[in-house]
Amino acid sequence: MGIKNHQFNIVMMILSGIVITFILFPLFSIITFMDSSKLISEMFSPPLVNAFILSLVTSTISTILLIIFGMPLAYCLARYSFRGKFFINMLVIFPLVLPPLASGALLLGIFSPNAVIGKNFHSLEFTESIVGIIIAQTYVGSPFMILASQASFEAVDVSYENASRILGKSRLDTFVKVTLPLAKSGLLISVLLTWVRTIGELGATMMMAYNPHTISIQIFEDNAIGGLKQALPDILLVIILSVIALFIISIIRNKKEDVIRIRWS
């Protein structure tokens, strides 16, 4: 039995090692292609800085929109039973399983100048504009916000909320004073995940607004023109941002002791 356990551990370690190598391997190509003498100046070139700032601004707006509209839906899905909940649960996953290009094409179907919404709101440019980028990012980022927030709300033991209501607090008070503090860590992680995902969004954004360039489109274009060597400064910027975000997420996850279960003697 002991040998079998040992063999099992070895197999698991080998399989895990293969995946880790697979994830790490492309990062080594950075070293191969990196020209350190030009790298810094290229990283701060105006088109790249503009694309990067545009991505930060649009993804922040998209994330805020998803906090305002997505989190309440996540709470409803986590706490209420209602007719059609099964259907809505499936619907919120839809942008995740749909290829982003297909999402973009579907969005164009309603926001392009000749489509239902685009036609009726002439003053607003939905395509080839910042608004278009935000729409695409919000659509593709929505499952990340809703599903992760729903899981965070579900992780809050409902008996805490019951205790609060019995102590005289309304639903709103209980949500603000009990549910949010208890779900805080999970919600922060869902916000960060959504933000990082919307920064990296390409397919749907490309369909809705190829211009102005977001950082993802800039990477796509530089890589198409000059290969990885030209796209490398863009990629490095995104990697630095992703590492910072992942670092913050890891810290939050480690600190996630809010929902501590009281130990019973």
Binding site: A163, L167, L182, I260, I262, W264, S265
Partner: protein, 362 residues
């Protein structure tokens, strides 16, 4: 006063009710029943955590059946207290008090915190507190909002015996001092003896009996033996008496017309309820000289050979001046002493055996 009228709640495979129950002001009603008989459901219905299918709940004459949870003015102490982990002990206690009332209530909070002996904990966060401390803080949090009725769902079940015993006495004192009503759900015999003014027995989703504790015990030979399905029987001997002497750590208690001695100092005149395990009572045919301070001449009422589930052990029912006691001995001892119904025997137990679980100072 709480009144439950024809309350029904249906689940798949189980129906609670129709339930009718009245709890007077300042009354502690202990509800017993086997697991799955609907005890917690009754509390959840009263608290509004679940909606009944039919029937009504009245609190001080007001129909609260459809009132939202937060406006019912009900306190609920859960089996798992769920103190808010992101707040300190004090913040937890004052959680339910409106900000504008906090200054006015300062004295009341201090008094309650003192009576529960948790003053030293108020500035701590809740991590690392013991189970007993957590239950006391939870009780304080529940009581500071001045509930009209207190619901307690086996709050002591996960605590050690020592803490349980200490807390039972404190809980009863605090509830009685605040003069509120309480429904206390349990399946522990000792909770019934320690806390109850009246007892409701829930079986198959219905109230089988609801009586004052004294009445229930008098109907059932002064024990809860008949309810072994609803409550964990361990003691079987519950006696009530008055402290007549207390010297050097030994207290003498008068029970009807006989006396027993036990350890501890109690104020003379205090009415007490005490428990005595049947296993602690030794039977002897003769008056022997022993270290035990309690030797009482009794008459054998009955010998219950099938009353105890362990093979080779029998219950011997004794009568002493109108009071019934149970002694638990082996078959071998029964044969050796050749005990029969109607025989006189001496019941012998040490002063360390009886334990006071309830007291009323006069």
């Amino acid at each position: 006063m709480l009144e439950i009228v024809d309350l029904v709640k249906k689940f798949s495979g189980f129906t609670l009710g129709p339930l009718n129950l009245k709890i007077s002001n300042n009354e502690i009603l202990v509800m017993i029943g086997a697991t799955g008989n609907g005890k917690t459901t009754v509390l959840n219905l009263v608290a509004g955590l679940i909606k009944p299918d039919s029937g009504s709940i009245y609190l001080d004459g007001v129909d609260i059946t459809n009132h939202p949870i937060e406006s019912r003015k009900i306190g609920y102490s859960f089996q798992r207290p769920n103190l808010f982990p992101f707040l300190t002990v004090y913040q937890n206690i004052i959680f339910g008090i409106k900000k504008k009332d906090r200054i006015n209530k300062k004295n009341q909070i201090e008094k309650l915190v003192k009576s529960l002996d948790i003053s030293h904990l108020v500035n701590r966060n809740i991590h690392g507190l013991s189970g007993g401390e957590i239950q006391k803080i939870s009780l304080a949090r529940t009581l500071v909002v001045d509930p009209k009725i207190l619901l307690m769902d086996e709050p002591l079940s996960s605590l050690d015996n020592f803490t349980k015993r200490k807390l039972r006495i404190e809980i009863r004192q605090v509830i009685k001092n605040l003069m509120i009503s309480c429904i206390y759900v349990t399946h522990f015999e000792e909770d019934v003896y320690s806390l109850a003014d009246s007892v409701a027995i829930l079986k198959n989703g219905r109230i089988k009996e609801c009586e004052k504790l004294g009445t229930l015990l008098s109907y059932n030979n002064l024990s809860l033996n008949s309810y072994s399905c609803e409550v964990e029987n361990e003691y079987s001997n519950y006696l009530e008496g008055i402290v007549v002497e207390s010297v050097n750590g030994i207290t003498k208690i008068k029970i009807h017309s006989f006396f027993i001695e036990l350890i501890g100092d109690y104020r003379i005149g205090t009415l007490v309820g005490l428990l005595l395990k049947p296993e602690d009572i030794i039977l002897s045919l003769d008056m022997v000289k022993t270290s035990a301070r309690n030797v009482i001449k009794t008459n054998i009422l009955n010998i219950g050979k099938d009353d105890y589930p362990t093979i080779g052990v029998v219950n011997v029912y004794l009568l002493v001046n109108g009071i019934r006691l149970i002694s638990r001995i082996t078959d071998e001892s029964l044969k050796y002493l050749d005990l029969k119904k109607g025989d006189y025997v001496y019941a012998i137990f040490k002063s360390t055996s009886p334990r006071i679980i309830r007291q009323v100072k006069i």
